[in-house]
Symmetry: C2
Subunit: 309 residues, 2 copies
């Protein structure tokens, strides 16, 4: 099966209690593509970089079977740059610098060879760009998933709600779910949000795991408790990439298979936090991933023997 | 099997965003006993009340097969009273009133008929009272579990550490684990705390579930996402009571059985939050509990089919 990822390919500079980086490779599209590359799928990406973006990273993506035809390289322009600093608890961060650069006027052109793609993952981008991508696909994918951020809720809520109404699955974190719905209870929030359009909703809760809602079905996936969260940047995108990569490779969007997809996404996200940026993602072996998924099984698994009464 | 619960039997007055109560029945010992009463065990309690405590509640406990020989009734004295107000997010609360009354000079006398008890649950009380109970038992129970609070860390850390060193299982929440260990990471905190003595550690994370640590084994139990947390008072004690009641009734302290015990405790705790105080706990049927545990199974259960590569 094929998966189209639309998302930023960018530079980040990150400061955590454990240290700080210079400009390193980041961007939602990068993390999603690196994570979904663990699965046997045809990957395609629509994104944009400037001529300052290192060729080695593009070569790495190509070597992982990511079709880069939809990745625009703008001569004489600069790649999107984000800089942020995490607080001591690693659960919140301040944005220090945002330079949109090539993203400012990004027109998501879909190569003809991408038409007919079966799965679509819209990484965090302006809701207007996200909806444009959906409109430009001549055939509706089997599953359209999107991520977003509170930033767009603050400045473009109407556009955002329009885009949300067009997707099958929304993947956001707990704070975003509360802001989008106006409800503190995540169960109530999930009802308000699904009434906006998406049949499926994943609420990511960071170190507290993730919830999947669909009709009356509810799944609570644990996160792997870590000794140290070195750098959470990209963990949510990695989760989404692992999730969509698994779904596309198995071509099964049943609730039970989405549970497995969430465990795969969670396992990859747990690696992502172990080093700065994409560093850890590029060194995981298949056996590492299999072992990590086994850890999730023993972490969450129990059997019930009724003895009440 | 027999379970001895030591904990307060008390009055509470509670204010939440949903309303407020006059003086209602509360106390860790009450919640623990009501929860463990769902299991087929010999229950015993050591506690103290004043002569203002309603006979109906004692009759209710007796009707649930709780042996009240160790419950002291102090004539001319008043029952422990706590009053608190929850913040809007229900995750934090302010204590408004604490009247120790009969708890001030509580001497935990163990009736001779209680000797030989197989399981011991020390609810939140002064660590000095908790350690006295352990010392007064002539035969070491199969499992000694204790709860405590940050209050004792603030004013009696040395006593607390001594008591913790005497138990097999410590049950505390995430904030308390961080304060006790000085570590933010719960994985690191679990190592520091288990080095203080307890072989087993449960860290309760409220709406985010609970973690069980033993040697290299780790279990992450989900909490049931609720539409509304009406009143979380006593949920932690109810969890502990369901956990210990299940363990004692099955008489199996293997890690796998502790997982089941946590699911039972979590199911009972989820009921506790639905109404003020002990109200909901006294109306749950066995079928309600069985159905709720089934919900936890579908909430947390997944099977993995490997498709990496």
């Amino acid at each position: 099966m094929s998966l189209l990822t639309v998302g930023s390919v960018a530079f980040d500079a990150i400061e955590t209690p454990f240290g700080k980086t210079d400009k390193i490779i980041g961007g939602a599209g990068t993390y999603i593509a690196l994570a979904s590359a663990f699965y046997n799928i045809d990957q395609k990406i629509v994104s944009v970089v400037g001529d300052d973006f290192p060729k080695e990273m593009l070569d790495l993506l190509a070597s992982k079977n990511v079709d880069l035809e939809g990745l625009q390289i703008k001569q004489g322009e600069k790649t999107f740059f984000w800089s942020g600093k995490y607080h001591n608890d690693m659960n919140s961060r301040d944005t220090l610098i945002t330079e949109l650069n090539v993203l400012e006027n990004f027109d998501p052109i879909i190569p003809e060879s991408y038409q007919g793609v079966e799965y679509l993952m819209l990484g965090n981008l302006s809701p207007q760009v996200q909806s444009t991508v959906i409109e430009r696909l001549t055939k509706r994918p089997k599953l359209v998933a999107m991520d977003t951020m509170n930033f767009w809720m603050d400045i473009a809520m109407d556009d955002l709600k329009k885009t949300i109404s067009m997707v099958d699955l929304l993947i956001i974190n707990d704070e975003e779910a509360r802001q989008l719905s106006g409800e503190y209870s995540l169960v109530k929030a999930s009802k308000v949000i699904r009434a906006m359009g998406p049949k499926y909703l994943i609420i990511k809760k960071g170190e507290h795991g993730a919830l999947l809602f669909h009709n009356d079905n509810l799944f609570y996936a644990p996160a792997l408790p870590l000794e140290e969260v070195f750098d959470p940047t990209g963990a949510g995108d990695t989760f989404a990439g692992g999730f969509m990569g698994y779904l596309a490779s198995t071509d099964d969007i049943s609730f039970d298979n989405m549970k497995r997809a969430i465990i795969n996404g969670s396992a990859l996200a747990s690696f992502c936090c172990e080093k700065f940026g994409t560093e850890r993602l590029t060194t995981i072996t298949e056996q590492d991933l299999v072992n990590r998924i086994d850890k999730f099984v023993s972490l969450a698994n129990f059997d019930i023997v009724q003895t009440v009464g």
